[in-house]
Assembly symmetry: C2
């Protein structure tokens, strides 16, 4: 069918958003043009702005528009502890939990030999230097409890322990408020293998 090219292009361009199929792209396009052209202009600007300005922090690799991100340069944080996560989304999740006051290192992925992703691709050479240079006392591994995340955690442990760094792994198991019956099998397996003796 014939439809205005600019409209068609917008519908297609919206498909780059995760979870947006042809139907919602169409709904979004018509909504913006009928009711929120100002929002559409602002979104266009925000997108280009983010793409142009956001790069990785030179210290922790998290997203930032500065050379060193706001978390890394926050003097109130515990600079002797680094939490290693896979993605900027993980940093957000930990920050939102309010349970951590140290610094981060963002791998932007995980080790995956099958995809040709080795230690240097996730910045581990850089990370090793940083840990030594900054006299870090503890590294908390918060990679995902997946095969790749676990392999990455093992690799980091092997790399850091010989240097006298305390290495810890966050706990995995049944989430608080989670009913055993509805928890998936691998989480339960984790919960059992990670059990502690009650003292």
């Amino acid at each position: 069918m014939k439809f205005s090219p600019a409209l068609q292009e917008l519908m297609e361009a919206l498909r780059c958003l995760p979870g947006v199929g042809p139907k919602s792209a169409q709904r979004m396009t018509l909504h913006l043009l009928e009711r929120d052209r100002e929002g559409a202009s602002k979104l266009a600007e925000a997108l280009q702005d983010a793409v142009d300005k956001i790069d990785h922090c030179s210290r922790c690799r998290n997203f930032t528009e500065l050379d060193v991100c706001e978390i890394c340069s926050d003097l109130r944080r515990d600079a002797a502890t680094i939490c290693v996560v896979e993605t900027p989304g993980d940093v957000l999740a930990v920050e939102q939990s309010g349970s951590y006051r140290g610094l981060y290192f963002v791998l932007m992925g995980h080790l995956s030999p099958i995809d040709g992703i080795g230690p240097e691709d996730i910045g581990l050479d850089k990370f090793q230097r940083r840990v030594l240079d900054e006299g870090i006392s503890e590294v908390i591994l918060a990679t995902n409890p997946t095969v790749e995340g676990e392999a990455t955690a093992y690799y980091l442990t092997d790399m850091l322990q010989p240097q006298g760094i305390r290495v810890s792994r966050i706990a995995h198991g049944v989430p608080l408020g989670g009913e055993l019956e509805y928890v998936d099998g691998s989480t339960l397996a984790h919960a059992f293998s990670g059990r502690r003796v009650v003292e």
Copy 2:
């Protein structure tokens, strides 16, 4: 929590999209920056392009970047029949059904005295002139089967019938393949009041 302003602004700007809450805005932002910066740039351009170029067809009021849209200027279409719909999305739906070969008039809304939306706000003065000027033989009313859509259809009927124009209303009822049990009450009411004697 502290987060890069450009990132925060993008998360907020994405909320202008229908159905996008804070969680999906965050997921979209991280996805674009981590994995599809090119898509984000293209989307920015397509948004601004659509906002700048798309206006209403001077003949049917549908979205177009031309003065007269491609449907209106398509000589293979039946120019003696006009289908009246509420929104450009309705045009899309009818076009996709492949069941109609005439022209359109897009109200960009419906009569709603309570919101101060009268006949001129939905272009009916213009539409009346068009019907007379172009010697239209049939006007098909495809406004929605809502209180406002029906009121708009009644108004159009009263306006056009005295001028000798054939006015018809599309059928409303149980959708094909729809199970009676799962059809909502007002659709069923429509289906009953619109019943035809089997001959």
